[in-house]
Amino acid sequence: MRFSVTVFPGSNCDHDCEYVIRDVMGQKVEMVWHKETDLRNPDCVVVPGGFSYGDYLRTGAIARFSPVMKSVADFAAKGGLVVGICNGFQILCEAGMLPGVLIRNKSLQFICKNVYIKVEQTDTPFTNACKPGQVLKIPIAHGEGNYFIDAEGLKKLKDNRQIVVRYCDPEGQVTPESNPNGSLDAIAGVCNEKRNVFGLMPHPDRSGEDVLGSHDGQVIWKSILAAKAGVA
């Protein structure tokens, strides 16, 4: 399967995405500089984490104007798979490709640690290899991962089953203590209505191998591979 990873000035998880896709999952990966418009015919586009444009103005707010983002939007509009991780999620929200916004963590501090997330929806191309309610141990590393959306938007997310993953404890219970950043409804990741664009704050790019503390992130990549194969 062919992946393209967008690279913005200030992206810094682009290496992690490249590594996990190519060396752990054994797939083809192209790195696409933000000034380019040719995505190089991918099956899936990954918008990686980092600090695109130094988070200046607002996270993801400048990156969405990069030439490559027009191509990503067109690709998604045609049904192409797009996944945004961490800053990538923020960029997709800023670009209007995903609903909601990500604001400062409730603690007002950057938080880096392993968290647990519960897979709420398995009928997406990004989670089809998960069992319903499966708990994944995946790290977060962000200062602005506090998901917010207005009441109407939240209702829509629920009605359309767009809340894909939520923060939980190791047993899968969604509790106030297990929500690391104050996200509304413990939302860790959402998809669009067409279910072909997915954004999440936790890092499946950093959790593909046991030596790193967890291989649970692999199931996200496996789902994408399965989707391409026509399972989802």
Partner: protein, 742 residues
């Protein structure tokens, strides 16, 4: 040029304001054969500051061991480099940013990280890890809380934005640092041998190119400021602190590595302390060449800047490079890709002089070497009377403890010993997906992708020991850092040091400095560990006195097979627990004596260098043989704290906390054996079937080894005297700082 500046008369007052002594001024006149103008005086002022010129420390630093078969680059470049095999090398260095952080904690600490990162990627190495060592006054002080929070946020924001994991560090809270906090930042990079590049200029007429951020008026005289004591007026020198832009530095790093990897450069150097001045004269001096630049070509942030200001600005995120012939356009193309400023500001000459022009008119013309060769001083030294008092302290005047469980709880809650989770959770310690052992164990461990190699790294300091006995204390700092590496299963291969002291012009301070250097050197020689570079930070004092003499050691460890890495926490119930080394029994210099009795005195523990070296070797051998389930050294808080940490630090890696039941070896004072800080001790555990082999191996290496108990249960029980709930201990340990900072 602004004539008013050029017209400044060089009076004794002007010379003094530049931090130069009258005889230093005379020396400048002799070098030039004339009086310097104000711009030239500025050049000498910054380059002959202690920060850049090491004038009070160079003579002693030269006694330190710097050579070894793995050393590819020793002191004198931006960072030291060591071979780690398979065509890879590791670049690493520690540097202080104490003075700026004391005045402006957020920017001071952030620019400290930025500076050390530039030192690494300037060598052609991609930074892969950051570490830091921080010291503040007691955490109960609101001013300290503000400083601590600001420094941590500054480090976090810079490293996180750059995408470099901060994987290890230490934080100490002690009254000696109340007015002078210490912020030492270390960075580690990986480089292929063929990409190593140095900070030197050569090749007549090769273009000298400036890249990165524009030059502003910030940070002028930062180096000179860092070479004086902190007083109430220091806060007025806030303009000497620079402003950080990690995004700019990220672009600069990627562009620099691209330039180096595309083989476009002769040499490159970052602009850190003393800015354009330092990079220009050092590159010329190292390359045995000269450089001529025109400051009018330097990209400027503000209008009307004088040559003096442009040369002395410490605006961050800038580099100076010398391109290979015919590569100038390619250099500009790479920089354009990254949307960075680049300007050809001069060329290499063969005159050995640093010539500065402004629109073609010469404004400074001095021998480049003369700037990099600051005067060398051999200050007077005398042993402080307090040292004898410490030596003569009578331990029997302190009653033995009767409530060890409560003391253990108190020690684990002590901010110096307690978990630094509040700190490291603000640092991205996982980015680049190489971090195999995250903060929480004795050393951070990284893999080197595409190889079986791994790196272990730690940063340690023991100011309180050095205050009691600078020679022994310095030996212990090196030993403890190397022991942390050995506990992780790696071989300590090299170190970098940052020497934080008060004013060298005071004989008592210089006595400490002299003895510390002896201790560091003797320990490094005993362990065959070369020092590949570092930094000296003097004048860490204020009207009420100097800081504790505080050498900080960054230690690099190497795994040929990173799968042999060991962590400090117990793994399985039923595993036997051993103590390697002798339990000891003195309490002098211990954290216990400080925390429970309010006494910072006594004889600091003695370190037997040979016994310590054997311990490092046996730990490595045991790790290589895969005998070990865990290994953790006894340091602050002694045997009891080490055992407790073995029980619950698995929680840092989402593993279970486990109890243990052990007997207390040795005889004599109960508190000495439980909480004393005798050296060369490590608590290890192994699978039950491995016990006999482990004991045999210890015997073979001549390291004392005693089976003391086994892992299991929910409590830590030591003999019949102490039994404490692990959950309770863990809660105190992990939340102590969080609660105080809430």
């Amino acid at each position: 040029m602004t004539s008013s500046i050029m017209d400044v008369e060089i009076t004794p007052q002007v010379i003094k304001e530049h931090g130069l002594k009258p005889d230093e001024y005379d020396r400048i006149c002799k070098i030039l054969g004339r009086k310097p103008n104000i711009t030239e005086l500025g050049l000498y002022s910054v380059m002959w500051s202690e920060h850049c010129g090491y004038k009070h420390s160079r003579a002693l630093l030269k006694t330190l061991p710097t050579k070894g078969p793995k050393v590819l680059q020793g002191p004198g470049e931006n960072a030291g480099i060591m071979d780690i095999g398979e065509g890879w090398a590791v670049a690493f260095k520690v540097e202080s940013h104490n003075h700026p952080s004391a005045i402006e904690p957020y920017q001071g600490a952030a620019t400290g990280v930025g500076g050390i990162l530039r030192d690494i990627f300037t060598m052609g190495a991609r930074p892969v890890a950051n570490l830091n060592s921080l010291r503040f006054g007691p955490l109960s002080d609101p001013k300290v809380k503000r400083l601590f929070a600001g420094v941590v946020r500054g480090i976090a924001d810079y490293g996180n934005c750059m995408g470099i994991p901060t994987i290890a560090g230490e934080v100490v809270f002690d009254e000696s640092y109340t007015e002078n906090c210490l912020v030492n930042a270390m960075s580690v990079g990986l480089v292929r041998h063929e990409h190593i590049i140095k900070g030197r200029a050569s090749g007549l007429n090769n273009p000298v190119i400036y890249i990165g951020a524009t030059t502003g008026r910030d940070g002028i005289h930062g180096a000179t400021f860092a070479s004086t004591e902190i007083t109430d007026e220091s806060t007025e020198k806030r303009s000497a602190v620079q402003v950080a832009d990690p995004f700019m530095e990220k672009l600069l790093m990627e562009a620099t590595l691209e330039l180096i990897h595309n083989d476009l450069l002769v040499g490159i150097q970052d602009m850190g302390a003393a800015g354009l001045t330092c990079s220009t004269c050092e590159m010329a001096s190292r390359g045995g060449a000269g450089i001529e630049i025109d400051v009018a070509k330097v990209p400027q942030r503000e209008k009307g800047m004088t040559p003096y200001e442009i040369l002395l600005s410490e605006s961050q995120e800038r580099m100076l490079l010398v391109a290979k012939p015919g590569c100038e356009q390619k250099v500009h193309d790479v920089l354009a890709k990254w949307d960075l400023h680049a300007a050809t500001i001069g060329f290499v000459t063969d005159t050995g002089r640093m010539v500065v022009k402004e629109n073609g008119k010469v404004v400074a013309d001095v021998p480049a070497d003369s700037l990099t060769e600051a005067p060398i001083y051999h200050p007077a030294k005398s042993e402080p009377a307090i040292l004898k008092k410490h030596r003569d302290f009578d331990e029997t005047s302190v009653p033995d403890c009767k409530n060890p469980g409560e003391i253990l709880e108190k020690l684990l809650s002590d901010p110096t010993i307690a978990s630094k989770r509040w700190v490291y959770r603000q640092y991205d310690h996982m980015v680049r997906s190489n971090t195999l052992v995250r903060p929480g164990s004795d050393a951070g461990v990284l893999r080197v992708k595409g190889t079986s190699l791994g790196l272990a790294m730690t940063i340690d300091g023991l100011g309180s020991y050095c205050a009691l006995d600078p020679y022994e204390g310095a030996k212990i700092v090196v030993a403890e850092a190397a022991r942390n590496i050995a506990c992780s299963g790696a071989e300590p291969i090299g170190m970098t040091d940052c020497l934080n002291f008060g004013s060298p012009e005071k004989p008592e301070v210089y006595y400490y400095f002299d003895r510390v250097i002896s201790g560091l050197g003797d320990a490094c020689r005993a362990f065959n560990i070369p020092i590949t570079g570092g930094n000296v930070s003097l004048y860490n004092e204020n009207p009420s006195g100097a800081i504790d003499p505080t050498p900080i050691v960054g230690m690099m460890g190497l795994f040929s097979d990173v799968n042999t890495a060991v962590t400090q926490w117990f793994k399985d119930d039923g595993d036997p627990i051993y103590l390697l080394g002798d339990i000891g029994g003195t309490i002098g210099g211990s954290r216990y004596l400080q925390v429970t009795h309010g006494k910072k005195t006594g004889r600091c523990p003695h370190l037997d260098l040979e016994a310590e070296h054997r311990l490092h070797q046996v730990l490595k051998a045991m790790a290589d043989a895969k005998f070990l389930q865990s290994a953790h050294d006894c340091s602050d808080g002694g045997f009891a704290v080490a055992l407790a940490e073995c029980c619950f630090t698995g929680l840092t890696h989402e593993e279970a906390a486990r109890g243990a039941k052990v007997s207390l070896p040795g005889k004599g004072r109960f508190d000495g054996r439980l909480f004393g800080e005798a050296q060369s001790r490590v608590v290890v555990s192994c699978k039950p079937a491995m016990g006999a082999q482990l004991e045999a191996m210890a015997k073979k290496f001549g390291v004392p080894c005693e089976k003391i108990g086994q892992v299991g249960g929910k409590e830590l029980a030591v003999g019949n005297e102490m039994k404490v709930s692990i959950d309770k201990l863990a809660d105190l340990f992990f939340t102590s700082i969080e609660k105080q900072m809430a």
